[in-house]
Symmetry: C2
Subunit: 425 residues, 2 copies
């Protein structure tokens, strides 16, 4: 039986694995995490609204009924195109030996990582938001800043602790900034004794000229106004020139902040470079009209890691694209198996939406545009519907409804390394 | 205004803080974690049924409406009885300087920690179950063993990976062993391709002569039979003589196991020794009839960390005792404030219950005894009712109902250190 290796259990990889059900193939899905992650709601884990397991499901249980598909918890470390094989290594905590997986078809669906544009010193001080671990680290920093602000006796230090800088005003940056402002204004108000949480300052910094640059101009303006309604300071048109443990420098001005969050750029994972094929500036794999790697029809790249051009421009890195490309690749492999002709992939824009705080959002689909409460309800509905399991739809719905009614957040734990206490003698 | 310092935001500490509402005191609750933890359900986090935030709630939000009480995220490192002050240090991730907190009354409600009876080498290989971090580590080990078993080609290694030893057959050990057996028999059955998950082996080892030693003899026998129904091997009467990365040795026989879990003993945290007062063998603070430390009427110990004797025997370390002692201490401080006489504390046994798998349990309250489905339903009801927030009662109820109907587990994430992948060149 011919073997399809799928690297990555995100939306793209799962669409391929499911799309090949009933064919004469066996499939191995390789992922270095045991879970599929619904990234659009990751900012809600980072801002204490949801628990990790609300938006993550084991790849193994998603594919439990797909008996043609096996799941391997391992890390792909090299792709050998001429040898048609992938090198895989154990993840931490496993004793597996590195080995080669041979394939007849390979699907690369590994997504993208955060990029700090080569500023490696910024990575430590300004965490990005791409994994659950990132989200818990951001949550820890936000919650810990408020904890420290409660007991400091130095007003300048308190203001530094209560200043949150978000770099990058794409959807993730906008949603993070809105959620932090909302927490400070509502959730935390009654919880602290020694300061007014509404004095917290949230600054959204963007090098480009607008927030939500991919939206039509009037929605960009509305999004900005909605952020400012929540008290977020929006600074456009100047990049950050310095990022360190004390804050950032923008346009020559230092903003003293204990928490800096990074939502400004992405890059392809390093394994893309082991292919030796064309990559774009962010390292994404440039693919042909059928989403295969030029010169290697048996190798496909789908989702965020693929650079697919349509009408002269790359298509966006969003979940619907990954799912669509995944279905397309499954159709190509089916065509190969049947001796038919592969279809070409055509991207159809379904629109975009972003939420700002607890009752604001912007939405664009084709020529249709909306903002405010209606857009927010549409956002809630769509995001509930795309969660992978019915159980999580119900749980997330309850948490959202509860938070909406009470202003409480369901998941406010601070994770620390629990070192044993040092007893002073 | 006089100052009450409460060390620990568990059931005992919270009962004191709430019980002093309306008095002319200010209260500082010091805890090194930001959350109150409902320990009786910790084993359900360890076995992938519940998420950490389902059983943990920020101490700060529990006390949000208790405006007389402030919460301090810090670690108590020393108690200076003559000086009436407590040394506190920053938790990891905070820059706070160590400082002294002066008190008029001090309540020590810090609970107990796992004890490996001085075998420090066993701590790393056989994790205990006292904190959320412990629970996630146990969950990681259990899930990772199944992941590795899926891909090993060595049958003996697979059997080692699929062997789980639980040391200690008190309530925690019994509940852990039952839940692991249940997962292997049901939840995981459809998720693996290369082996039958029902071949997993769960061994419960106990040095004493019975499981659930604190229960009446017929219920002990029933609990044992219920465990054996689930396929758990129960080994009584012999302690483990060796614990290492390859398993344990019991009664001269080596059991090869990749996962060894420790539920065999507890000890008081090290700070108890800084008091310089009488401690029992486990380091618990021996208190007088009013729960105060002999010679220091202004200092109380409540809950698991206190050794309180009634009718010649120490009372058990369970949540109702901590709550009762907390209320009692609040009454004592109120008496002190009003110039009255302190009440003495009297423990009243409300009974005990333990659950085994998905529809078995044992229950004892006074002379009333039950086992099986009725006891299980009582267990479910009682444990839902004592969760701190209505939200979590609803969420946990839904997760339990869902799991009961589908055999799925809601929280099956594996946490690893997400080191960047090493790309092989």
């Amino acid at each position: 039986m011919r073997h399809v290796v799928v690297l990555g259990g995100g939306f793209g990889g799962l669409a391929v694995a499911r799309g090949l059900a009933g064919t004469d193939t066996r499939i191995t899905v390789v992922d270095r995490r045991n879970h599929h992650l619904f990234q659009p709601l990751l900012y809600q884990v980072a801002t204490a609204s949801l628990a990790p397991s609300d938006i993550a499901e084991p790849i193994r249980s998603i594919l439990a009924r797909s008996s043609h598909a096996a799941v391997r918890l391992a890390e792909a470390t090299r792709i050998d195109l001429p040898g048609k094989r992938v090198r895989i290594a154990a993840v931490e905590g496993s004793d597996d030996q590195p080995s080669w997986l041979e394939y007849d078809w390979l699907v690369i669906a590994l997504g993208v990582e955060q990029s700090w544009f080569g500023q490696t010193a910024w990575e430590e001080v300004a965490p990005g938001l791409k994994t659950l671990r990132d989200a818990l680290e951001i949550r820890r920093r936000i919650l810990m800043s408020f904890e420290e602000a409660e007991w400091t006796e130095d007003d300048a230090e308190r203001q530094r602790l209560l200043t949150f800088v978000v770099v990058g005003a794409g959807p993730t940056g906008v949603e993070l900034a809105g959620a932090i402002a909302e927490i400070a204004l509502t959730t935390f108000r009654r919880d602290f004794r020694n300061f007014d949480t509404r004095t917290a300052r949230v600054v959204l910094v963007e090098a480009g000229p607008a927030v939500l640059a991919s939206y039509p101009e009037d929605l960009r303006a509305k999004a900005r106004a909605q952020l400012e309604d929540l008290g977020v300071e929006v600074r456009l048109g100047k990049p950050v020139s310095e990022v360190d443990a004390n804050g950032v420098v923008v346009d020559g001005e230092r903003i003293h902040a204990a928490t800096v969050l990074w939502a400004a750029g992405v890059k392809a994972p390093a394994i893309a470079a082991t292919l030796g094929v064309e990559q774009d500036r962010a390292g994404r794999i440039v693919v042909g009209p059928d989403a295969s790697v030029p010169g290697h029809p048996e190798v496909f790249a789908v989702g965020d890691i693929a650079h697919f051009e349509q009408e002269g421009a790359p298509i966006p890195g969003v979940a619907p694209v990954a799912i669509g490309m995944g279905h397309h690749v499954a159709a190509c492999i089916r065509a190969d198996l049947g001796g038919g002709t592969r279809p070409t992939y055509a991207y159809k824009d379904k629109g975009q939406m972003a939420t700002i705080g607890r009752r604001r959002a912007v939405l664009q689909s084709g020529r249709f545009k909306a903002s405010g409460m209606f857009a927010w309800l549409a956002w809630v509905f769509v995001h509930l519907m795309v969660l992978v399991t019915y159980r999580n739809r119900l749980l997330v719905f309850i948490k959202w409804a509860w938070a909406w009614l009470t202003y409480e957040r369901a998941s406010r734990l601070i994770w620390q390394t629990e070192k044993p206490p040092t007893i002073e003698d």
